[in-house]
Structure formats: structure tokens, C-alpha cells
Amino acid sequence: MNVINLFRIAWKALVRNKLRAFLTMLGIIIGVASVITMVAIGEGSKQSIRDQLSGMGSNMINIRPSSNVTVGGGARLGASSLQTLKVEDVDAIKEKVNFITAVSPGLQASGQVINGALNWPTTIQGVSPDYLPVIREWKIKDGLNFTEEDVRTMAKVCVIGQTIVDNIFTNGQNPIGQTIRFGKIPLKVIGVLAEKGENTFGQDQDDIIIAPYTTVQKRILAVPYVQTIYASAVNEQSSDTATQEITAVLRKQHKLKGSDEDDFSIRTQAELISTISSTSELLTVLLAAIAGISLVVGGIGIMNIMYVSVTERTKEIGLRMSIGARGIDILLQFLVEAILISITGGIIGVALGIGAAELVNVFMQWPILISESSIILSFMVCAVTGVFFGYYPAQKAARLDPIEALRYE
């Protein structure tokens, strides 16, 4: 018997019993729909957690100088006194490392910031324009970020944190366009950072001034080196690869021989990354378990109905056999019926699940993310369920003796 006939026979048998076919499908429909909806909600919250964590810098890679040389009686020098990282290193990393989205030099200076009669002790951070939007994913609330042009011209511009605004612009004055002084250097405020609050160590992240690194390097610190290099990995998983690439590039830049120790150290947010991945894994496992249970329940429903159906249709099976259906034809008919039920149920379930997830998103404002993998997976599980739970009833049907089956009332 050819495949088209097989599907036609099974389809007709289902259409002949629309209500029963639908009720059987219901288990699968509910199973698949709940899986799709839950995975969408789970993935949505996972994504929003991940976004928040990346905002904390989970992709961030810090490169600092480290001492591979000892002076005098073997005392090693502290990192701050080392001057091994150069702007050229930044350019080399930018050019040769694949797994990073952005790289920026970093130079810090402390001092008093002054606006008219008010002043406040703070830190100025010199970075490239990519630092805020890409590496820190830090939004500017008002105004603009500085540009490459500002870097090139050592422009006297800055973006300030909310704490600075609160302390030196007390009278409700709009800081944008105002000129403040950091030590002796006048800087024009072109942007205000969105509030970030305290970090995990209780440090106020908003107490900062961000300026082009050239401005800080040349005008404020007047040094030829950079203190830190910040980079941002493409994603959490590629942090390690990026680290390896950066190591190779910097060793080459610094002309280190094979036996030399690195004269820099690279730090990633390894702990943060492992927290994220373990959370996501736990969520995925939980959802997979729910998916499994609901589909097994649906599958048992199919098996139950198929068994009833085989008994109820014994006479039909006998007739089909008497007019030339082989055991395998009967087996395949019932198997295809089971698969059609589960796949049709799967399709309806996917549609229903997506709809429910969208409703949750619209009415409850929960973030959702409908992933193709969850759709494909639950769909495949459906087909497998159909085969697995349809096989035994189908086999029972195929093994019937045509004489007995024909006589069955």
C-alpha cells in the first residue's frame, strides 16, 4: 500500500469520528500549549535576567598590567605603578580579536569637581565612546555621548553621573551645556547618565564623570600609558575564548618570549557567568520536566482511546482484512491515526501556546520569548508520542484474526 493511501485511510477514519479525535487531541493540545507558554515565559524572564546581568557587566573583560619583573631584593611592583599597557595595545586588540564587540582604554583620576560655589570629590574615567553603550550597556538619560572626533581632538567634554548632578547642580539647573571644572580643566557637560545605584560592594556607581580617554590621559594625567583596557565579549560563553585571544595579541605586542610570564592580567566575570548559566539550566530542566509530564499524559490519552478504538472497530478491521488489508496495513493505519492525532494536536497546541504567551505578555506585562527550539522540540516529542503510544494498540489490531474479527459483535 502506498503512503498516500495510508494517510487517506487514516484521515478518513479520523474524520468519521471527529468528536472522539478532537477529545483525544485535547490532551496533546493542552500539553503542547502549556509547554510553549511556559517556555516562552521562562525564556522571557531568563532573557530579562540576562539583560540585567549584562548591564552589570557580565561580558566585561578587564585587562590590567601585572608585574613580571622584580626590583631590588625581589619585591614586586604594584599594578598602579606599571606602565606597560599602551593605546597601541588597544588598537591591536580591536583589530585582531574576534570574540569581542568593543574595546576601550581606561584611565582614572581622582579630584574635586567644581561648579561655581559647589564642589564634590569624585573620579573621572577616561574611555572611548564605545565604553558606555557597548561595554557597560549604560544609557545616557539626557544629552549625548562623546564621539571619536572628541577623542581625536581631546575635547573638553564629559558625561556625568546622577550623584554629581545631585551634588553640584542643586538648584534644579539643567547640567547639559554647563561647564564644570575637574581640578583645573574646564569640561562641558554634554550628557547625564541613567541612574545605576550602588553595586554589590556598596559603591555608588553614579558618582562618576566619563570623558574621552585622550582628555584624561593628556590633559589631566599627562601620561603616555593607559591604566586599564576594558573589552566586552560577544556573549558570556565566549569570554574564555576572547581572553585567550587577547593574551596572544598582548604577548605579541609586548614581545614576550615563550618562557616569559604575562606582564598583564585579564579578569572576566566568571562567577557572574556561572551563576547565569546555572540559573538558566535549572529553568530549562524544570520546563523540560513539565513538558515531559504533560506530553506523557497526552500520550496515555492517545493510547487509551486507540485501544478503545481498536476494540470498537474490530469488525471494521476484520472487513479490511477480508478485502485484502495485510497486518502491516492495519498496523500502519492505526499508527498513522495516532500520529495524525498527535501532530494535529501539536499544531493546534503550538498556535494556542503562542497565543496564550502573547496574552500573558499583553495583560500581565511579563516578558516572553517564544523560542523556535521549544516549538520544534515539543512538536517532535508529539510525533514520537504518537508513534510510541500508538504502536501497541496498532499492533493489537494488526494481530487480530480476520475470522474472529469479522464475527465480532
Binding site: R8, L319, G324, I328
Partner: protein, 249 residues
Amino acid sequence: MANAILDIQHLKREFKMGSETVRALRGVSFNVQPGEFVTIMGSSGSGKTTLLNILGCLDKPTDGDYLLDGVNVKNLSRNELARLRNRKIGFVFQSYNLLARTSALENVELPLLYNSGITLHERKEKAMKALEAVKLADRMDHLPNQLSGGQQQRVAIARALVNEPVMILADEATGNLDTRTSYEIMSLMQELNREQGKTIVFVTHEPDIAAFSSRTVTLKDGHVVKDSKNENVKSAKEALDSLPVNDDY
């Protein structure tokens, strides 16, 4: 004879019922030539159902040979038997055995679905032709529950014809029908036999039905006790005409 449709020799069939052996057929021999209309008669327990199952390739004899259109059934597997039923035999049952909620046309198409050599177009065409042959061309979209008993049995006959079998095997095909409808069915059988040369083997226990056939084989206790040509074949059409006109109620 070599070109017999049915050739059975010393057919035996035994069933084991616990420790006892029931010998349903104890050595039956006869053959059926193309174009014959044979009735197999016998009271219950005579072995006619067992014989019918073997003739229909639903069962195999314990001993003896059964050649259907030259093929010895003894050596065939279950699947080969199914194929033989599909290609060479047209069954007509006492209780019609039509698929419920399935149109007459689709019921007739059913055997062709198990024949992969037949295209969709051929299938429809053959089914329509078979329905025409039983004069139900105008009812092909009707469901079984919209048809009378006689009409349902005619759909079943069309289903038996559709594969162009070498033999129509009817099992008490008039058993569920009243006299008038029975005669209608027998008239149709005679027509198929006479005009289209169909070989028909008709199992019945009613002598007046047997009178419409050209030959009657009578079974008793697993033996053939009588095998006679019917010299004076009754015409079912005439019998039908001679019935008193039914009151419409």
C-alpha cells in the same frame, strides 16, 4: 481440471478445543468452473462456515489442497493470502459490513486502496462502474444509514465486484433481508453471473435461495453429501414479479 476457478481436494480442517479435536471438514473435494453459480448448502454444524473461511483464504486447511485460480493456498504466508483476497475474491457478507459514516462510493473504493497498482483516478472510475453495475449510481454519495438493507447489500456487492475478482464469495448474503429484497439480490446475482460471466459461490441454508443457482453442493458433518447440477434454474426476476404487490405502509 486445470482451468477451474476453485479446485479443492480432500480438504480437511481440524480444530483443537482443549483436549478434544473437532473435525469440521473431513475430506471435501469438488471444483468450480468459471462462470458457475454454485450454492453451498448445509445446516449449522455441517462445516459450511469453515469451508467458506478456507475458500475465502481467511483460513488454511489442515490437510488437502485448495487451488484458487491455479494458486495453491497451502504454501502462502499471511500477507500473500491477504493479497490473494484482495485480487481474486469479492466477499459479500450477511451483515453487509459497510463502513459507517462513509459514502457508498468510498465503501466501494475500499478494496482498491489496498491495491497499490491503482491510481486515484482509476479507483474512482472503477468504483463508479461497480455501483452502476448494481444500479446504485445515483446513490453513491449516500451514507449506509441513508440506504435500505437491500441497497446496502448492493453496495457490498459493488465492493465485491470492484477489484474484478475471479470469484464472488457470498456468505448468507440474503440472511438479513426479507423475501422481496432477497429475490432482488438473487436477481442481481443471476444477472452478474449470466451477463457478465461472474463466478459466484453462495453459501446459504435456504433451499429456495439455492434454487436460483446452477449447482448446489450440500455439506453434512464435514462431508459433501450431494453435489448436483440444478436442471431447472429458477429465475429470480420472475419470482420477484410473481410476489404479491406489497401494501405500502
